[in-house]
Symmetry: C2
Subunit: 338 residues, 2 copies
């Protein structure tokens, strides 16, 4: 399997495949998507042996940040950057969209920047050995883990919250207030990522309280874009005006949902409570203030770097760390009034 | 002037000065501040001549991002990163706090990462030749310019909006709605940066409409932190409950001010209109939707890189570009009701 095979498979030039792999933005979106899909389907792994022989040891750590304009990931990134600088390494960043492939971006960054190690900041959970074969340096999943992955856990590291348990906790908080018709807003119930894990926490919290799962109360936005979340909340409210509480799996989703509730004439929390997970600074200033489970952002970034450097400098093995959230009580959770 | 002089002046070790200059976070904040102040006061310029002789040409562009967790700067950063990658250069990022010194951080990054060029993303406007002497590679000010600077304009580039003119425009929009008691919320009227320029636009828009400047309507938050903005808005409302409109110089400030207005029982826009500058995605989802002048974020980042590469590759001289904003009409501006 060579780059020529990928190009022929896609009906594009070799240089186009190369440009896609090197993250050039001057490739049309449909072409880029086709090439990325082919690279995955064909399990194409660039032939690095020639390069490896001559590759000098660099001090560069790559970070692939999936999801731009996300203040939560920005905070984590800042602590990663500080920890990398403190250890006299260099950080190289690549930001990608929430639907882009962080493994392909990481593999390309490893090649082009001769990385010593890689941190994937945001991503999905379903890595296979074939898919990650091109990640031929130690890597750490930061803010997510390999729950749906067939990778050997000793082959990579991760730092994240326990998505299932924290979602369970959020929904339990709503149940304790007396809510029964609790909706959930997430990207997709089958994204093999945080949406799916948090959805499972939602389901099990309901089940433990003897509340039957009602599929109409599950709202999938299809993405983490605020516009899509706003629309998904509108559809949820059209479908089921009787909900009294909403669990949104991220703060940005919470902001967009509160807006949609407000536009539909529903007061928060009188008509509908809202709880989320993240704890970004600006949700202290939403009207009303968002109630949220705060992720330990600084610790998350610092731990990711610590683990990676331990592996790089042969002080320790790959490891998996679960951090806990802290409840920040806002003004969006109350008792149901109907 | 040597690093030893700086260390003696501060009463710290040479290695502490070195750690500060190289951006290590493991230095106590008061020590760091003292060393930074001394470096500026003494006009200390590291002796780079030995290094310059042996320094190989790298393909690395540094970005110093001043102000973490700011979605506006994040968007600009993303377009910078894409443009840098498209040109086959490498981007190295350093994030600093809103009160940190971007010139010192840039100088340190130039040394430690052997940069070919530097983009300062956010900063102040009062550079002197002494202060920027350590920036011995081409640099571009992105999102701000050198209005208060004594630098020769042919020695650096800048890409930004026209802060004065856009603030003038925002305040004029409020005046056209019939407002006369218009407050302004900014960091400081004398920050030699965007606050001061936008304050001048505010003053002149009032003057042109025959409205006398009322110092009680000028609210300084002292920083761009949302908590400080919230408090400054509270004090403004305690001082002058008769304002009918508020111009906040950034979207994040607008979010915090709307929250403070709401907490004080003031409806937006019925009791007080709010307008700001930035146009970040999440202010589409504030309650009510923020009316704001949208900065062309992607263009700003792309132009900064284009100019820098033109200078690096000797295709063109340093240049200064002013971009225009676009009004995004939200729900926070109406006619005064008292």
């Amino acid at each position: 399997m060579t780059i020529k095979d990928v190009a022929e498979y896609c009906g594009v030039s070799i240089s186009t495949v190369s440009r896609v792999m090197n993250g050039h933005p001057d490739v049309r979106e449909n072409v880029r998507a086709k090439v990325m899909a082919a690279i995955q389907e064909l399990h194409y792994v660039p032939n690095n042996s020639a390069r490896d022989l001559v590759r000098p040891q660099t001090d560069t750590i790559g970070v692939v940040l999936r999801g731009a304009e996300n203040p939560f990931l920005m905070s984590v990134l800042r602590s990663i950057e500080q920890a990398v600088a403190a250890a006299d390494y260099t950080m190289v960043l690549q930001q990608i969209g929430t639907d882009d492939d962080e493994v392909a971006a990481g593999a390309s960054l490893i090649r082009s920047k001769r990385l010593r190690g890689l941190i994937l900041l945001g991503g999905s959970f379903d890595y296979t050995p074939e898919r990650t074969a091109a990640l031929d340096v130690p890597f750490v999943c930061c803010s997510f883990t390999g729950s749906f992955s067939s990778l050997d856990k000793s082959q990579y590291s991760s730092v994240s919250i326990d998505d299932y348990a924290e979602a369970y906790r959020a929904v339990q908080l709503l149940i304790c207030q007396g809510h029964r018709r609790i909706a959930v807003l997430l990207g997709s119930v089958q994204d093999h990522s945080i949406s799916e894990l948090r959805y499972r926490g939602y389901c099990d919290a309901l089940r433990a309280a003897g509340i039957e799962l009602d599929p109409e109360l599950v709202a999938e936005s299809g993405s983490f874009e605020m516009a899509d979340v706003y629309t998904a909340t509108q559809h949820l409210l059209e479908r089921r005006s009787d909900i009294t509480a909403l669990f949104t799996i991220s703060d940005l989703m919470g902001i967009a949902s509160i807006k949609a509730l407000h536009s539909a004439g529903r007061r928060v929390p009188e008509d509908c409570s809202v709880i989320s997970i993240d704890g970004i600074e600006m949700t202290r200033y939403t009207v009303p203030t968002l109630t949220t489970l705060v992720q330990p952002r600084r610790q998350m970034g610092a731990e990711a770097v610590r683990i990676l450097l331990d592996v790089l400098e042969e002080r320790g093995p790959h490891t998996h760390i679960r951090l806990e959230t802290a409840l920040r009580e806002g003004e969006t959770v109350g008792a149901p009034n109907h």
